[in-house]
């Protein structure tokens, strides 16, 4: 672990993946009960379209996205709906749907393959992807159909598949690329058709030699000139969307804009495989590859697991706990979210589960101290920000400074936290402040709208008043004229 010698931002981290990278993907045993969470991040939430006690088949829709960019949720197993709402033992996870697995694996009737996907109209293709509930499997959970449709609307030309997997511990995408490179390529072709781009680059890091070789072979076999492979240096956060796009294409996504603005679209390789599988077998998004690792797990590996499986069962499938695990998180070590309970279910956002012992953890060695303005954080920030200045602005809640130093552009990668000698929890502070900033912006927008309506109303009333007065004057004049004529 050290900062890059070539003075460029980012960190070279110890990947902690050597052992897990050699393992093959193993199917996790089917769970007896699944708990499918309705929250999909960023305020998106599905509305259940089933009732308690109802029996559903595997792959049937159990929740619909509301009008808004969400995705439908599908039953990962066949069985009876046990409950809808907060889980009795796990209220903190939020509302979800519990299904008791009846072991039949009966598939829903709508689950049918699409052999002529290559000749489908792109809009129909996107509709199928939407029907399959496919979301971005890199962790953001953004509905893929919506993203592809946006790409189509903005006429993107270059699709980039993110196989970088730059965070320590995670290697599910690496396993996927090693074992199913053909599916990755197929998914890429389907996505190209859907979004209308003319070329696709699959981006991986240079520490994934096997995956690279497998993909090269698959690309050669497919013989599609639109597809290519790009190998990037293994620097964190090479897989962050904007940084990845810049590394692959040399273009920079403008501030406050999204990649389609410059004709680019980025998707995770796992999403590509999910789309390929959807077309090949009709299977909606009901499972994903998840890396279960950490020194607190006996046999770390990559599992093919159903959404909604309790994490405790996944760890049992990986040999159970080993040592004395102190912390459980999903994601990598830089941006992973700690979970308070291993009864928590697997969601489509979880690409990696880590049960960390004290040896794995390297928590800040001391309590938080004052910032000494060493500038190490600024040196490693991949977004070009000055975290020390942002920290000062956050403390004083100075909106002008927050705007000037670009709090909105923070990608929350954690590089600044990693190097801070004063152990300041920078990412935490920035995240909280960004939420507060969004609320303040919404408040200001509402106030502005109210002011405009009020001013408009005042003008309207003033005009009415003026009209009335004019009519009155006219009437009086007419009366005076007529009385003069008479008299």
């Amino acid at each position: 672990m050290q900062a890059r010698r070539d003075f460029a931002p980012g960190l070279i981290l110890d990947a902690r993946k050597r052992s897990t990278m050699r393992e093959r993907i193993v199917a996790a045993p089917e769970p007896a009960q699944v708990f499918v969470l309705l929250d999909q991040g960023d305020g998106r939430r599905g509305t259940p379209c089933v009732r308690e006690g109802e029996r559903v088949r595997q792959g049937a829709a159990i929740a619909r996205a509301d009008d808004g960019p969400g995705a439908d949720l599908h039953a990962p197993v066949a069985g009876r709906i046990r409950s809808i709402g907060p889980h009795e033992n796990l209220r903190e996870a939020g509302p979800g749907i519990v299904i008791d697995n009846d072991g039949s694996d009966e598939r829903d009737s709508r689950w049918e393959p699409c052999p002529d996907a290559d000749s489908l109209d792109p809009d129909d293709l996107i509709e199928r992807i939407r029907g399959g509930g496919i979301v971005g499997l890199g962790g953001a959970l953004y509905p893929t159909a919506a993203k592809l449709a946006q790409g189509r609307d903005r006429s993107v030309t270059h699709l980039v598949l993110n196989g970088a997997e730059c965070e320590p511990w995670i290697c599910c995408d690496d396993a996927l690329m090693r074992e199913c490179p053909g599916e990755v390529v197929r998914g890429a072709q389907l996505m190209l058709r859907a979004c209308g781009a003319t070329k696709c680059t699959i981006a991986i890091e240079d520490d994934k030699a096997e995956a690279g070789a497998a993909l090269e072979a698959a690309l050669a076999a497919a013989g599609d000139a639109r597809l290519s492979l790009a190998v990037l240096p293994a620097v964190y956060p090479a897989g962050a969307e904007r940084q990845l796009l810049t590394a692959v294409t040399g273009l920079e996504v403008p501030q406050h804009a999204w990649p389609p603005a410059i004709g680019l679209l980025c998707q995770n390789v796992g999403t590509a495989v999910a789309i390929a599988r959807l077309m090949r077998t009709g299977e909606p998004l009901i499972r994903r590859i998840v890396t279960v690792t950490g020194s607190g797990v006996a046999h770390p590996g990559n599992l093919d697991a159903r959404i909604g499986t309790p994490i405790a069962e996944l760890i049992a499938a990986a040999g159970g706990y080993a040592g004395a695990p102190r912390r459980l998180w999903f994601g990598g070590s830089m941006t992973g979210r700690a979970l308070p309970d291993d009864a928590w279910p697997l969601t489509s956002a979880m690409n990696c589960i880590v049960a960390a012992t004290a040896a794995d953890l390297r928590a800040p060695a001391q309590a938080e101290q004052a910032c000494i303005r060493c500038g190490d954080c600024a040196r490693v920030c991949p977004a070009g920000l000055l975290p020390q200045e942002l920290h000062r602005a956050v403390r004083s809640r100075d909106e002008v400074l927050l705007e000037r130093f670009g709090l909105a552009d923070c990608i929350e990668c954690g590089c600044c936290d990693y190097v801070c000698p004063s152990a300041i929890p920078l990412v935490e502070r920035f995240r909280q402040e960004r939420v507060a900033m969004r609320e303040r912006a919404a408040e200001a927008a509402r106030a502005k709208a109210a002011r405009l309506h009020f001013e408009h109303r005042e003008r309207r009333l003033a005009e009415l008043e003026a009209d009335r007065r004019r009519e009155f004057e006219d009437a009086r004049r007419r009366a005076r004229d007529s009385s003069r004529d008479d008299g």
Binding site: R242, Q369, A383, D409
Partner: protein, 344 residues
Amino acid sequence: MRFETAPAPHVVAGFTVPRVMFLVLLALAPAAVAHVVVFGPGLLLQFAVAAPVALGCEAAALALRRRPALPALRDGSVLVTAALLAICLPPLLPWWLTALGTAVAVLLGKHVYGGLGYNPFNPAMVGYAVLLISFPVAMTRWPLTGAELDWPTLARLTIHSFYSGVPPPDLSWDAWTGATALDALRTGLRQRLTLQEIRAGAPFGVLGAAGFVWVNLAALAGGLFLLRRGIVRWQIPAALLAGLALPAALAQALDPGGHPGALFHLFSGATMLGAFFIATDPVSAATSDRGRLIYGAGIGFLTWIIRRWGSYPDGVAFAVLLMNLAAPLIDRLTIPRIYGQTRD
């Protein structure tokens, strides 16, 4: 099974402030050794006073501010201030002046502004400047350097002066102390001597000031160590040395008789100490890389100006303080470009 939760990242690099301070002190060691060899044991006595006074003042200030004292004392930042001050002060300084300077540095240079991380000025330089202006004679009294010097006598002189402020009865200030090279340069130029005549005088050595050149070389070695370890970044030292050397070289090219040139300036006075240890204090320096280049260059340039035309022999302290004043403005003007930002 329940687990503890904590925010990401879950693995950090483990750099700590005490470790940074320890490495800085380690890097100062060669310069300290050179200092003692050349100028006598004064440095050790000064540090023996400065360190406890610094720790005591810091503890007192934190108690007054109702903050926990132990974490702040443990981080070692005040020891670095004491060490820098001790190495900058003349070794013959009586102990009460050292104590005063240290107290001013810690209380007025650091805690009045809020403690570690909040001081706009370099605390050691605040203490040094206050002493220099208030006690100009004592602060410009450096031991003579040269072959005729004998270390045990120098030690005796130092110890006596340290305790009482006056030399022992059998020694006199005139015999054993004299102007530093920079001092001599200034007075000599004012007296319209030529450079050759000035350089023939006692305080001058081969490269720069006799005696001081060793301290500077040792400080350079320590500074390169800090660079290698990543404790100090190259922008400030490089800019400072360039900002000092380039005008000096230019001036010498234009008027060889009146300016001693870059090498002399680089290895006399507190140049190397300033470049790697004093100006690089992160709290009071500019914060962006480009800003640090400007900051360092400004210090170098001001140092040269003060040495050439100012009233005080070594300009590093005042140059640092002046650029500390300018640091917020430099920061304001050198905000780096954010990813995706287009400058219009």
